[in-house]
Symmetry: C2
Subunit: 360 residues, 2 copies
């Protein structure tokens, strides 16, 4: 049961903890890596200094092989400040009517500058870098290669998987439509990129093994247990990436109310939401989503995301899961709260058991 992917990275298991930006503190990343998987620091919303600090913390916790993950975005964003002002009124009014004492404010910057984040990633020099929302440039590819950083691109269609392979990715992670949070779509409208993993995975594997080089495909989207990992392997995956499964770990910084609500999730209540961030993301349909089904004033990502960030922090602090972005995949109902190291061991035990059962 050796895994070429795991061997290449020098890790024990072909198992990646997904980079859920905002919910992957160093303790979670290190716990997964120390247990033989690949922990991922979701650094999409971190300033360069924080990336360096958290990478150092992960290493201080004993982890050697881990990933840092970024969103490929422009460095600067233009904002229609009239729309921003109107959106703030609308959001503030909603919070007030829900009894939450918090107001929006205009941030100093709408998002960290990607080029600065990228430079920090290079300086931190993790074993693996992964990216979503777009492909990196040839110059950036060279920077990673110079430092022997393994590159994983995120794709939600076969065309996107091909684009990453052509951009030089060492592996491509395909996210099925089932996947939680913001998915990596960049070549299509979000509604055209809702491909179930059962379809996307074999299609992408066929496409990426037909090219000049055979690019390994990592499967993501509602893989929650060892059976799911084995099923993904049978469909051609070199490794499995699990996000939601790690959300209920004590090391994960997701709000307590969010973790609690995941335990009661019914799959038909996990929906596509644009009104927290301006970009389609999968999560629980709650009070906020019902009160605000569309993005305030149609504000785009990451502007709306920056505006709602303090509201979501306040909702988390107040235990108001119903006002919080409760991202999760469609199989969230299968979460099993337990420490990350135990979860990794359990996943691999289930995987081996499922495999042995088949063989008998």
């Amino acid at each position: 049961m050796t895994s070429p992917f795991a061997n290449r990275l020098g890790i024990e298991h072909p198992l990646i903890q997904a980079p859920m930006s905002g919910s992957t503190p160093p303790a979670l990343v290190a716990a997964v890596s120390n247990a033989g998987g690949l922990g991922s620091l979701g650094a999409g919303y971190l300033e360069p200094q924080a990336i360096l600090e958290q990478a150092a913390q992960i290493r201080a916790l004993g982890a050697r092989t881990f990933a840092i993950s970024l969103f490929v975005l422009p460095d600067e964003f233009d904002a229609d400040m009239v729309a921003v002002a109107k959106a703030r009124e609308q959001l503030d009014a909603l919070m007030a009517s829900e009894g939450l004492d918090v107001r929006t404010s205009v941030p100093a910057r709408w998002a960290p500058r990607f080029s600065d984040q990228f430079a920090a990633l290079c300086e931190a020099q993790p074993a693996v870098a992964s990216f979503a929302f777009g492909v990196i440039s040839p110059a950036q590819l060279r920077e990673l290669q110079l430092r022997d950083i393994y590159l994983i691109g995120t794709a939600t269609t076969v065309a996107e998987a091909r684009a990453w392979a052509e951009a030089g990715a060492d592996a491509v992670c395909v996210q099925g439509a089932e996947a939680g949070g913001h998915r990596g779509t960049f070549l299509h409208q979000p509604e055209d990129a809702m491909i179930g993993l059962f379809a996307l995975l074999p299609l992408a594997v066929r496409a990426l093994s037909a090219g000049a080089r055979d690019v390994p495909v990592i499967a993501a989207g509602s893989i929650m247990d060892g059976r799911g990992m084995l099923a993904a392997e049978i469909l051609g995956a070199a490794a499995s990436q699990l996000g939601t499964a790690f959300l209920t770990c004590p090391e994960c910084s997701a709000a307590a109310a969010w973790k609690q609500d995941l335990l009661q999730t019914e799959e038909h209540q996990v929906t596509t939401i644009r009104s927290f961030s301006g970009r389609a993301a999968r999560g629980l349909r709650n009070r906020f989503v019902e009160a605000m089904p569309e993005p305030a004033q149609g504000l785009p990502y990451p502007l709306l995301n920056a505006l709602t960030a303090p509201l979501r922090r306040a909702a988390a602090a107040a235990g108001r899961g119903d006002l919080l972005s409760e991202w999760c995949g469609q199989a969230a109902g299968l979460v099993r709260p337990q420490p990350a190291a135990e979860l990794v061991a359990r996943l691999m035990h289930e995987y081996r058991l499922a495999r042995r059962t088949l063989a008998s």
Copy 2:
């Protein structure tokens, strides 16, 4: 490698050819059943007499164990004839502008009467009856049980799977969001029932094994090869149901243009379409869908379906795939045109090979 599901039905393989109403002539059903799978006559649009005739033809071709499948619908439908007249104008104008010499007409009946279809099914007495769009009544369940007909219900969410188990189904077929054509959704809005098979299958298996009796779950939705069947089994499926995979068989009555277009399918062009039938169905985005993104005059199913039927027949006869309802699942790009018996043998060979590879 014995399968409890196959053993119970006395068939060789846990493999069902999906009941794709309108595209499953007796020759296809019999070929699959004679090859050791379970062929299904999609009888949703057949009048009672045709159901009896086609069942007799299937038997005349040597098949013993097969399924007949119906849509659970009311017997009668009310129509707003003003809206119908306006919709006809709109549809006729589109066909004229596309150079297709065909007109809509008001059918004698909007759809066959379900209770009459059900009576014909009972008379035909197939080994298996399967249903979509709703659950059958306790009285209908008794009619099936009296005749020892095995009952399969179709579900697209866990709640629907539970509803079928409570209604007495012997097995429940869960259709992932990837599945082609009209899906069986009946308790939810279509957009809330787009659950990927990778999530839906293990969730449904858990729900249906927790009840008073352990109800087998059949997996459907973008299973295209033997690896897919094995992956579904690992996620808990008792059997796999494949539809799109059989569309390109010579025995399948799908139009030649439709079969041809499937060979070039890209998964992001497989979309949800309401404008052929009034009910959400998955198929290829083509000229008709682009010209008419919404159902004419908002006509509901099955009214719009009946109005467009002659148009689609004419489009098929004229080789105009671009004006035809080209239903297919998201993994349609993986079709392999070949006779149904060869395809069944190939699927089972791949399944055994994948299993053996894992064991080694």
